[in-house]
Amino acid sequence: MSNQRYAISPSYQRYRRIKDLLFRQFVRLAAISVVLALVSLFVFLFWETLPLFRTATLVDQTDKVQTHDVILLPRLEQTPVKLNQDYPLVSDGSVWLHGDRSIIEPREVGLIQWIMASTNTTEFPMILARPFNHFHVENVSLLALPGSKAFISYDPTGLITLYHATTGRVLASIQSHIYPLKEIEVSVLGDLLKLTGGESNQTQWLQIDAPHAEFSWSILWRPWLYEGHQQPDFIWQTTANTDIFEPKFSFVPLSIGTFKAAFYALLFAIPLAILAAIYTACFLPESARAWIKPAVELAEAFPTVVLGFIAGMLLAPLIEMHLAMVLSLLILTPLILMLFYTLLHRLFMHLKGQSPTSSLLLMLMLLLLTLLISSGLGQQIEVFFFQGDLVEWLNQRGIDYRQRNGLVIGLVMGFAIMPVIFSLAEDALISVPESLRQGAMALGASPWQAVVKVMLPTAAAGIFAAIMIGFGRALGETMILLMASGNSPVSDFSLFEGMRSLAANLAIEAPEAMQGSTHYRVLILSATLLFMLTFLMNTLAALVRENLYHRYRRY
């Protein structure tokens, strides 16, 4: 039976099928490209850091080296240290490392490094820096390599070992077939060794392949002793104008700077955002909520470069001038507000019955009054207790005050992450089923009790996720820190001290780092760490949120 009037052309049907197929493939292609982008993001960041962890090698290149192309370093320039009264500690056979700021000395117990503990070379400067693992020290000769803090040791048996002085590591070791090994010379570029010795004056060429010898994992995280310093310290310093400079890669000051900035920002943002979210979600009528929430979220749209500019150029000098006022605004405002509200409540019990919006107006007036009072109080406190200048008072007590400091960053970055936390926390609270709150109120809980006892615990995971995401934002925020933190890589948690974060450090140094250099790769390593840190944190937050969603879907 057929009641069809229109003949359906098979070719058109085929055309539809092909179109469908093509579209599906196209969509799949887009998805695959996104997956590829994701994977390549992971892979290439890791890939570029991998050479840092490759072990160095000494390779026999006797057949390949074009001897006439190699310029050897004149022996005269490799000055062994003479025993003299300037350096009575140092024995014969020691060598100066590149830059003439530290000495490697062979002893019975092994090799040790002496460094100048001060940049001033006229005073007696040498201190014991570190020993090197070495088990064969008889008749050992040393040779410093040009252009880096690496050196080699060799003995007549032909055992050649490559060290890096700063990291204290044995990089590589090789047994030469020449016996007895008399002498080793090095090329001016520091990449080739010429070995001579043996009965018939044989030569052997070794290539040094140690592009990232100055890097080690422990140098990133442990206090380290560098030339010109008296004790181990966490230092990040990658460039200087002298060529004898040794780069100092410690992630500690950068990490401290990152976490310090994020911590102060959270300190400011969490109470503000969470309390505001509670009020918005639980006490505002839907009509007011509809415009107040987007209004707060508008803060998220401010480009951080503008916030950074305001923080660095406007706020930082202002805060320096009125430090006491700012601090009292931050600390006293909530206290005075509480006081006010207690008084008000005692005096006008009938206010309880007013609608939240009209009491918002009242709150606004009270708030403005409180702000006035606490700023005025701040000025008075400064005059009475701190001789009229808090910054000066702090300086006298040995507390360093920088204009661009943790306080400025905390305030401005706190403002920048506040909308994120607010928005997500509000979402978590509003998705708590209304029935739960009404249940609590039916049992006689006051509105605030219902919120604290029922809604907050229910939304706790969501609020936690909101804070985590805010924290992740703060860790990765770049422009505000770049413009208002002073960018000094100090390891200091003080509120009044500057800092340099991992992200800001990348913005400063990555454009200038030479591609493929150790500095470049260490920077990428820091980016990878930052990436993993924030990614893990966000994943945690996402899982928490998803759990929450599954838990409350049944309501």
């Binding site: 209004a295 951080t304 470069v305 009790q449 990614f535």
Partner: protein
């Protein structure tokens, strides 16, 4: 006996205090936003306000704004206009939109319409969503490694080997800026589109399929047209985010002062390899790296005002579209 059961008054007082305190915190948030807007608005506009009070005060005010928006910077960016920066921002963002929209929309379609919902897609979705929280500077570093050095380096090897060692594409430039921004804003587009797709009632889909439509016809004729506002929201939010972003761009091709615009009348008209100026970077550079003693605050505020106006307008558009969307779907669900 009964006295013990009377509700304690102080408890209620304490409650009310906390309630009010939370309200005050909300007010502080709002005040901060308002104060910031006010500050930038006033400081920015006062840059354009003519100094002497003549008759045509409004006319010269608008003339100043026009001049600022259309003229090139002078005197090391410290006076003159911001046209190249504005032009650069718009060009790179439009180019980014060209990359991010099809990929973002189509992969959202894949995720929510085609892919089987298993633990892999769940992980993928979480990973994509989390990309939004990865610091933008990391994208900048990735862009520098992957786009500039690896991709650009290979392009140079293949097509521009004559001019090596001077790099053509193996150096920061417009195309890499746009690609980095596209990667950065991909999650924004995907999330918004997926949200839009999930709002389309399931029975539209089955109704369409039951009429004999193929899956792609169902998407093209019914589902995607209804999702357009959501996609638009996503793209606008992506543009807003990209326009305000600075940190990653410093690594992949934004400069203080570019001699040429990225689009001009010489072949091939759109110069993907050129360095560009960017409004956000302009602000950073002027604010932070001007010679000591020069008073750049007014012009930076003026540039900030332009940037913020741009970004806020985009965001407001997105909010309005989204509100309209919610209302519309509310209507659908009431109808049914």
């Amino acid at each position: 006996m009964l006295k013990n059961l009377v509700v304690k008054k102080p408890q209620a007082t304490q409650d009310q205090r906390w309630l009010w305190l939370s309200g005050s915190m909300l007010l502080i948030c709002l005040l901060l936003v308002a104060a910031l807007l006010f500050l930038i608005g006033v400081k920015g506009l006062s840059y354009f306000w003519p100094s002497e009070h003549t008759e045509g005060v409004w006319k010269s005010f608008f003339q100043n704004i026009g001049f600022f928006l259309t003229q090139a910077p002078m005197d090391h960016n410290q006076s003159g206009g911001i046209f190249p920066a504005l032009f650069g921002t718009v060009t790179m963002v439009l180019l980014m939109t060209l990359f991010v929209t099809p990929v973002g929309v189509l992969s959202a379609v894949y995720l929510s319409e085609f892919a089987t919902q298993n633990s892999f897609t769940r992980l993928l979705r979480i990973a994509i969503y989390n990309l939004a929280g990865v610091p933008s500077i990391v994208f900048g570093v990735f862009g520098l490694i992957f786009f500039v050095y690896i991709l650009g380096g290979s392009i140079d090897q293949l097509f521009f080997s004559d001019s090596l060692p001077t790099p053509t594409y193996g150096t920061p430039g417009l195309i890499w800026v746009s690609l980095t921004l596209a990667l950065l804003t991909l999650p924004v587009v995907i999330v918004a589109t997926e949200e839009g797709l999930s709002r389309i009632p399931e029975n539209y889909r089955s109704g369409c399929l039951a009429l004999g439509a193929t899956q792609s016809e169902m998407l093209w004729k019914v589902v995607l047209p209804l999702t357009t506002p959501a996609m638009l929201t996503g793209v606008i939010l992506a543009i807003a985010r990209a326009a305000g972003e600075v940190a990653p761009l410093m690594l992949v091709g934004v400069v203080r002062s570019a001699p040429e615009l990225p689009i001009d009348s010489t072949f091939p008209f759109l110069h993907l390899d050129r360095n560009v100026m960017h409004l956000g970077y302009h602000i950073f550079d002027l604010g932070m790296q001007s010679p000591v003693g020069s008073d750049v605050m007014p012009i930076v505020f003026a540039a900030s005002l332009v940037l913020i106006t741009l970004v806020l307008m985009l965001n407001l558009t997105a909010i309005i579209i989204r509100q309209g969307l919610r209302r519309r779907f509310h209507q659908y669900s009431q109808q049914q």
